[in-house]
Amino acid sequence: MSADENHPTRKPEEIPSAEKRPQPRLKAQRFFEEQGPKIIKAAPGDLHRLTRRDLLLFGAGSLGALAGIGYLLPQETLGRLGVHADLDSPKKERFLNSALRFDDDVAEALYSPNRIVPTYSKSQITALRNNYNGATPDPSYIPGWRLTLEGLASGVSVSLDIRTLLARFTPHEQITRFVCVEGWSTIAWWSGLKFDDLLHAYPPISQARWARVDSSVNLDEAGNPDPYYASLDFATARHPQTLLATRFNGQPLTVEHGAPLRLLVPVKLGLKNVKAVTKITYRVDQPSDYWAERGYSRYDGI
C-alpha cells in the first residue's frame, strides 16, 4: 500500500443498535469485537498502478496454477479434456511419487509398535469379499503347499508344511477391521500364529529390517501365473496383532481368502495382507511391492 499515513476512522453515521450503545465492556468482550476497517488515503495514480500490478500478478498466477494442474493430471484425464500431447515423463512421475513417499514417511512417523488396533465382537463381523485382483487360484495347490523361509541367521532356508506350523505355534484370535485401498472395509475374525513368534523361532540375519512376502499361486485376470509380493517392515511384522492367519470366521481359510496361510496386518492396507503366502525372505533393503510398482504407495500404514 502507499506510504500515506493511516487514518483509523469511525463511520460518520451508523445504524443505532444495541451493540453501539455505550456501555461498560469487559476486556475479553472487546477482544472478540469486530473492529472497523483501516482507512487509507491514497493518490489515485498509485492506486491504479498497484491495482494493475496486483491484477497482472493474479493473472500470471492463475495461468501458472492452470498449467501446473494440467501438467499433474493423468494422461487419460488430459486426453478426455482434448489434450493429446504426451506430458508423461520420468520427472513428472518422480514429482508425483514424492507425494507418495512423503505420505509414507508421515504414516511411518504415526505408527506406534505399542498401539493396539480396535477389536470388535462377533456380532459386528461383516462379509469379506474375495478381492483377488485376477482369477482365484485353483485349490489344487493346497495339499502340496509349503512355506519357505529365507534370509535366516542359520544361513539355510527352511520349508514348513501347514501341519508343522499349526503344531509348533500357539494360535491367536482377533476380530479386527480390514481396510482396502479402494475404500471399503470389513470386520473379520482371524486366527493364526503371530509373525513375531515366527521371527523368534527362525531368527533372520542380524542386519535384516524387512520381510518380503511372496505368493507364487497368484493369477492374473486371464488365469496365468502372476506372482504377488509385498514388503513388510520389521516394526510392523513384530506388532502383536500381525498374524500369519490360518483360520477365518472360525473355519480354516478357504481358497478365496488365501488358504492355507495368509498375512494379516491390521495396521496396513489390505494389499499388504498377502494371500496364500508361499515364501518369506528377510532382507536388509526394502523389497519391492506388487502394487507400488503399479503406482500405489509402499509403506501403506493406516
Partner: protein, 278 residues
Amino acid sequence: MSHSTSSYNEQNSTSALSEQPRVLVAKKHQLLVRWSHWLNVPILLGLILSGMSTYWASPVYQHKPDPTTGNVDFVADVGTWICAHVPGLLHYSSPPDWVYDHMSLGPYLLADALRLHWFFAYLFMLNGLVYIAGLALSGEWRALLPRLTDVRGALNMARYYAGKPVAMLLRRTWLHPRFATKYNALQRPAYFCVSVAGCLSVATGWSIHKPMQLHWLAAIFGGYDAARTWHFWLMWLFILFVVPHVILVFADGWDTLRSMIVGWSARVHRSEEFENER
C-alpha cells in the same frame, strides 16, 4: 464500538481536503488471506476430481447389484439416467461413467487419484495454516465470528437475495438490508461454516487415511465407514457454497471481486453504498 465526535470531525476534515488528488480506501483482506483464498481454487478442484475418482473404486452409496449390468453404484445410475434423458447424450459411449468422466479424473484411475489426493491434501492443510496466520495477523478473524443476531439477519439477507431478481424484473426498488459490519449476516456464518467444514474435511480425511493409528479420531465421526460418508458430504458442502459464492460476488460487483485480489475496497462507507443503491 463507540464513535466519538472527534473521529467524525476528523472524517470531515479529510473530505474537506478533497481538492488534493487523494482518495480513501478501506483495507479489507490481508495478503495471506487473499493468497490462501485463491489457492483454494486449484487445490479444491484437485481434491474433488481425485476424490471422486477414489469414490469410484468403492462407492459409499451402494445398492443390490443390478440384475442386467451388475452395477451397485448410485452415482453410476445418475450417469445412466442423465445419458438416457439429456438430448445429445443419448449415444454416450459409457453412460455409467458419465458422472466420473465429468466430475473426476475419470474411472479406472485409483492409483493416480490417490497420489494426487495426497498431494493436494497436504497443500490444503498448509494453505489452511496460511489462512489462519493471515486472519490472526490482521485481526480479520473477528469479522468472521457469527453473532446471535445473525439468525434473524441471515433470514433477512436470504429474503433479499431471493427477492432481488424478481424486483429487478419488475423494476421495483428492493432495499439491501443495512449492516455496519464487514460482512453481512449471511456472509458471516457462511464463511465461518465453510472454514469449519475445511477443518472437518481434514479431520475426516485423516480418519479415513489412518483409521488404525488415529482410531480415536475416526471414532469421533462414528468410525471408519461413517467418516467416509462425512468426507463425501463435506465435498458437496464446498460445492454448494461455491456456487452462490461466485454468483453473488459477480452480482455484488467489481469492487468486491477486486478487493480479494488487491486487498482494499473503494467502498469506505457502507452507508454511502446504500444511498447509491437507491
